[in-house]
Symmetry: C2
Subunit: 190 residues, 2 copies
DNA sequence: GTCTATATCAGGATAGAC
DNA sequence: GTCTATCCTGATATAGAC
């Protein structure tokens, strides 16, 4: 892995663990095993490096979600697979957490990938639900867009609850709860 | 308002806007119109002041929730009232956001009120749902604890979506969505 | 490309005068 | 109780040598 890559990976980890405001160039360099000069040779500064890191994380996240949501199976199966996918609940969402970072939200360039990722995810889930409705798997009364927003929000909020509690328990409960609520909208197979 | 009170109020605002890591003693003092000496006279340092601020915010939040959740009406009415209560979605939750602050999570004293508030809220909502079930308002199949976790998570996550989008739209959709899902569990009145 | 030196400013606090 | 002076460290870079 090149030095530039190691710098990006270290930044990704630190942004996840400590956020943008809580991450210093020095900490990034140390974790990457790179010197100051090296970092400022490859990147113009902290925002530039953060942008590269955030973009990479955003892409990975969308790719992973797309894989699960475009798999074969009913809409409900795919949503459940997405929600049950392996996650480190206590670490939180590497994209969602940036939403609480004042300096990220203040910089349009840094904010854009965060906005786009979450918007894409809602949109993608809405399409899955819409498909389920069209196929008659799901109740016609179910609002795809609103429900998609609820699913993404539940996931994001479940991370918050897990971190507050220092336990995955409330995370699992929130996921169980939303899937339970959704189940009531699954139409019986003929 | 006393100087100590102004310091606490300024800290509450700044913690909400910028988080713990992003809030400096100097910024607190300036907003409160107090000098350094004044701040260090009333509080031992930033963590001490933050603790006072977080506790006050936590208490207010629980009091507000209790007011709405203990009001007369069906379980569904009260949950809806709580979810629809006036909120500045773009500002996020002043308690939930602390969950993303590494220094807050690392300090047991600062973390405790965050943990307790969110745990209490889940518990309180679970009781409301349980009551609804006992009264026959809600479907017996509904799991009160899991559903309560889902409701709190949806709210917390809805803030994340609103902030990412820079719009209250996804917040409203998430709330609409979860209430829609819940509605399917309301039993018809005899 | 990477290193070391240097610079500036902010964070977070202490000390002692008033 | 509040103010000012002072202190030390870390954040975020720039400059120039190697």
């Amino acid at each position: 892995m090149s030095t530039a890559d190691r710098l990006i990976e270290s930044t990704r980890e630190l942004l996840w663990e400590r956020g943008y405001v809580g991450t210093s160039p020095k900490a990034i360099q140390q974790r990457a095993g790179a010197g100051q000069g090296s970092m400022y040779h490859h990147f113009t500064g902290k925002p530039d490096l953060a942008l590269a890191a955030i973009r990479r994380t955003a892409e990975e996240m969308c790719a992973k979600a797309e894989e699960l949501l475009s798999a074969p199976g009913t809409a409900m199966d795919r949503v459940a697979a997405y929600l049950h996918r392996e996650r480190d609940a206590l670490k939180g969402c590497p994209i969602g957490r940036l939403t609480q970072d004042p300096d990220v939200m203040a910089d349009p360039a840094l904010r854009a990938p965060v906005d786009e990722t979450l918007a894409w995810l809602r949109e993608r889930l809405a399409r899955v639900l819409e498909e389920g409705r069209e196929r008659g798997e799901l109740d016609a009364a179910l609002d795809p867009r609103a429900t998609a927003a609820t699913i993404v929000a539940t996931l994001q909020g479940a991370y918050v609850l897990a971190r507050a509690a220092g336990s995955v328990r409330p995370f699992d409960q929130a996921i169980t709860g939303v899937l339970g609520l959704l189940t009531a909208h699954v139409r019986p197979t003929e």
